[in-house]
C-alpha cells in the first residue's frame, strides 16, 4: 500500500504536484492517469525517494522510502526504459541491482526468463530495441519479487504483442495480491487494465474512483436512429414508453441499450429505418473532458482558423 498525503513539489514558481492525497491499495491495478506534464512522473519520483517533496509525505507500507533497508523487495519500479548504462550487459545490469539488495544471483536468471531476455542476457543494453529495454526495466522491477510494483508509462513505444504482454503481466501481478500502480496518458489503455483510477491534471487530484464507477458515470450507451417516417416513429416509441431525444440532422437518440426493442417495434408498425445503431460514448472523451482545463500543452486542431475580427471591424462597416 502506498499513501500520499498532501504531496507537493514546486520548481521555483511552477507547481508540478499540488497537494496530492490518495491511497494506492494492494490486490488491484491502480491507473494513474493524466495528460502529458500533469505531474505523474514527478509524483512517482517522489514516491521512490528520488525527488524531495516540497511539502507532504509519501509512505510505503507505513514507511518512508529511505527507511526501507531492502527497497527492491518492497517496491519494484519501471521509471523509464533507458535508466541503465548502455555499455553493461542485461545480466550484469540486473546482477548489480540484485547485489545491492542482497538478492540471490539465481533470481537474476529467473527474471530474465520471465521477461524473455535469457537469449540476450550477455548482450549490451544499448543494442536493445525499445521493447527489449522496457522488458529489461521490468525485469529489474520484478527482481526483488516486491509487494508493490510501479510502472511509468509501460506501454510507450511497444508493439501490440508487447502491450498485450504487459497488460497480462500487470493483471496477474495484482491477482497475486500485489499493489500495482501504473501511469498512463491513455484512457483506453487504462480501461483495459486498471481496477481503480487516480486522475491528475496540473498536479492536482481530479478523480479518485473505481474504474467501474468511472465507466458507469462517464460512458453513456444510447441508440442512434434515422428514419424518413420520423413523426410516426416518435408516436410509436412514445406509446411504448421510450423517451426520444432529437439531436438535429434528423437523428434521434434513445438512452440505454434498446436497439432490439426499437427494431421490433419498427417492424411491427412497418416503419422504414435508415439507421439503428447502438452507440457508446468513449471513455477517452470522458477523460478529455475531465482534464480539458488542465492540459498543459494544447495543440490547435483547427488549422488555419477563421480570421479573427480585427480591431475596428465593428465600426468600419458603419
Amino acid at each position: 500500500m502506498i499513501e500520499l498525503e498532501g504531496l507537493t513539489k514546486r520548481y521555483g514558481e511552477k507547481v508540478a504536484v499540488n497537494n496530492l492525497t490518495c491511497t494506492v491499495r494492494p490486490g488491484i491495478v491502480t491507473g494513474f492517469l493524466g495528460p502529458n506534464g500533469a505531474g505523474k512522473s514527478t509524483t512517482m519520483r517522489m514516491m521512490l525517494g528520488l525527488d524531495r517533496p516540497t511539502a507532504g509525505d509519501v509512505r510505503i507500507d507505513g514507511k518512508h522510502y529511505d527507511q526501507l533497508t531492502d527497497p527492491l523487495k518492497y517496491i519494484g519500479a519501471l521509471l523509464d526504459a533507458k535508466a541503465m548504462h548502455g555499455g553493461r550487459s542485461a545480466f550484469n545490469h540486473l546482477l548489480c541491482l540484485a547485489q545491492s539488495n542482497g538478492i540471490p544471483k539465481q533470481r537474476v536468471h529467473e527474471v530474465l526468463d520471465t521477461v524473455g531476455l535469457t537469449a540476450v542476457a550477455k548482450k549490451k543494453a544499448k543494442g536493445f530495441s525499445l521493447g527489449m529495454g522496457q522488458r529489461l526495466g521490468i525485469a529489474g522491477a520484478l527482481l526483488g519479487d516486491p509487494r508493490i510494483l510501479m510502472f511509468d508509462e509501460p506501454v510507450n513505444g511497444l508493439d501490440p504483442e508487447g502491450i498485450h504482454w504487459i497488460r497480462n503481466l500487470m493483471k496477474s501481478l495484482a491477482a497475486q495480491g500485489r499493489t500495482v500502480f501504473v501511469s498512463s496518458h491513455l484512457m483506453s489503455e487504462m480501461a483495459l487494465t486498471a481496477d481503480h483510477l487516480v486522475v491528475i491534471g496540473q498536479g492536482r487530484l481530479l478523480a479518485d474512483t473505481s474504474m467501474a464507477d468511472f465507466i458507469a458515470q462517464n460512458s453513456r450507451s444510447y441508440v442512434r436512429i434515422r428514419t424518413p417516417q420520423r413523426e410516426r416513429l416518435l408516436d410509436v416509441l412514445h406509446s411504448a414508453g421510450i423517451t426520444v431525444v432529437e439531436t438535429g440532422n434528423g437523428v434521434l437518440e434513445v438512452d440505454g441499450d434498446k436497439s432490439a426493442q426499437i427494431g421490433e417495434l419498427a417492424a411491427q408498425y412497418q416503419i422504414v429505418l435508415h439507421e439503428l445503431s447502438p452507440q457508446q460514448a468513449s471513455l477517452e472523451e470522458a477523460f478529455m473532458q475531465l482534464t480539458a482545463e488542465s492540459v498543459e500543452y494544447h495543440a490547435h486542431s483547427d488549422t488555419p482558423s477563421a480570421p479573427q475580427p480585427q480591431w475596428g471591424d465593428g465600426w468600419k462597416g458603419n
Binding site: 500500500m1 499513501e3 498525503e5 492525497t21 490518495c22 491511497t23 491499495r25 494492494p26 490486490g27 488491484i28 519520483r45 521512490l48 525517494g49 528520488l50 525527488d51 524531495r52 507505513g62 522510502y65 529511505d66 533497508t69 527497497p71 527492491l72 523487495k73 519500479a77 521509471l79 523509464d80 533507458k82 535508466a83 541503465m84 548504462h85 548502455g86 555499455g87 553493461r88 550487459s89 546482477l95 548489480c96 541491482l97 547485489q99 545491492s100 539488495n101 542482497g102 538478492i103 540471490p104 533470481r107 529489474g140 526483488g144 519479487d145 516486491p146 509487494r147 491477482a175 495480491g177 500485489r178 481496477d195 481503480h196 479518485d208 474512483t209 473505481s210 474504474m211 467501474a212 464507477d213
Partner: protein, 289 residues
C-alpha cells in the same frame, strides 16, 4: 473488478478493516536481508568491472606508466655515463609516466559517478539503494581500491626495472622505496578519488574531466607566465603546490626546499578529497536525483 469505492479513508487502521478484492497481501519467498555497505560495495564492484571504459582507462594507464617509465630508464641508461648518474634516485624516472597516467585514473574516477547521470542509471541505483551517502561511499571504496592496486603494481614494476637498468645510480633507501611506490600510488589513487567526487558534484562527465585536467595543469601553466616581480610569492606557491610538483616530491630526498616535502602531498590530497567528499554527500542529500 473492484468493489465500489467509499470516500478514501486516510488512516491505515480504518483501511485494513475495509473489504478489499483480495485480502492477503503478497509475500515473497525471497528472504529479507538488512542491507549494509557490503551489499553496495558488491554492487559497485560488478558495475566497475562490467563496463568497457574501465578496461580502456586502466589499460591506457598501465601502458603509459610502464611504457614511459621503462623508456625513460632505458634512454637515460643508454645515453649517460654511469658516473653522471651518481647520487640520482633511479625511482624518479617513473615520474613522467605517472603524471600522464594520472589523467586516465582521473577520467575513470569521473566516469564512475558522472556516467550514471549521463545514462540515467543513477535513478535505478538510488531506487535500489536510497541511502545516497552509502552509494557514494561504496563507489569511493571500490574505485580507490582498484586505482590503488593498479597504480601500485605498475609503479613497482617500473621502479624495479629502472633500478636494475641504471647501474650508476645509487641504491634508494627504504623510505625512498616506500615513497616512490606506495606513497605515489596512494597519491594518484587519491587524485582519482577527488575526480570521482567532482564527478558526483558536477554530474557531467566532460565537464568534470575538464575541471580535473585544469586542476592538474593550470597552476603550473599560470605560474610559468607570471613574470611580474610583485607576484613572485604567488608564482612560487602555485608552482610548489601544483600537482606535477607534488608528484615529484615523492621522489625527492631534499627536505630543505620550501613548499611541500616528505609525505606532505599525501596529507594535502587527503584533506582536499575529504572536504570535497563531505561537500558531495551534502549536495547528494539535498538535490533531486
Amino acid at each position: 473488478m473492484s468493489t465500489p469505492q467509499p470516500p478514501m479513508p486516510q488512516a491505515a487502521a480504518t483501511w485494513q478493516a475495509a473489504p478489499g478484492p483480495s485480502n492477503a497481501t503478497y509475500t515473497s519467498p525471497i528472504p529479507v536481508v538488512r542491507t549494509h555497505l557490503g551489499h553496495a560495495i558488491a554492487s559497485e564492484w560488478t558495475k566497475i568491472r562490467s563496463v568497457r571504459s574501465t578496461m580502456w582507462t586502466l589499460g591506457v594507464f598501465v601502458l603509459l606508466v610502464i611504457g614511459i617509465g621503462l623508456a625513460t630508464g632505458a634512454l637515460v641508461a643508454a645515453n649517460s655515463a654511469p658516473e653522471s648518474l651518481a647520487g640520482e634516485n633511479p625511482l624518479s624516472f617513473g615520474f613522467f609516466g605517472l603524471l600522464l597516467g594520472s589523467m586516465c585514473v582521473s577520467t575513470l574516477g569521473v566516469l564512475t559517478t558522472a556516467s550514471e547521470y549521463g545514462t540515467g542509471m543513477i535513478r535505478t541505483t538510488m531506487v535500489a539503494c536510497p541511502s545516497r551517502g552509502r552509494v557514494l561511499a561504496a563507489k569511493a571504496i571500490v574505485f580507490f581500491s582498484v586505482a590503488f592496486v593498479v597504480t601500485l603494481a605498475s609503479a613497482v614494476i617500473v621502479a624495479m626495472a629502472d633500478v636494475a637498468m641504471l647501474d650508476g645510480a645509487r641504491e634508494p633507501s627504504g623510505e625512498e622505496w616506500l615513497k616512490g611506490t606506495l606513497g605515489i600510488s596512494l597519491y594518484v589513487a587519491l587524485l582519482g578519488l577527488l575526480s570521482l567526487v567532482v564527478g558526483s558534484i558536477i554530474r557531467h562527465s566532460a565537464g568534470a574531466i575538464t575541471i580535473m585536467i585544469g586542476l592538474v595543469l593550470a597552476p603550473l601553466v599560470i605560474a610559468l607566465f607570471m613574470f611580474s616581480e610583485s607576484l613572485e610569492d604567488l608564482r612560487e606557491a602555485l608552482f610548489e603546490y601544483s600537482i606535477p610538483n607534488q608528484l615529484s616530491v615523492f621522489y625527492s630526498n631534499s627536505l630543505t626546499e620550501t613548499g611541500p616535502s616528505g609525505w606532505d602531498p599525501l596529507w594535502i590530497a587527503l584533506g582536499v578529497t575529504a572536504a570535497a567528499f563531505a561537500g558531495a554527500v551534502a549536495l547528494l542529500e539535498k538535490r533531486d536525483v
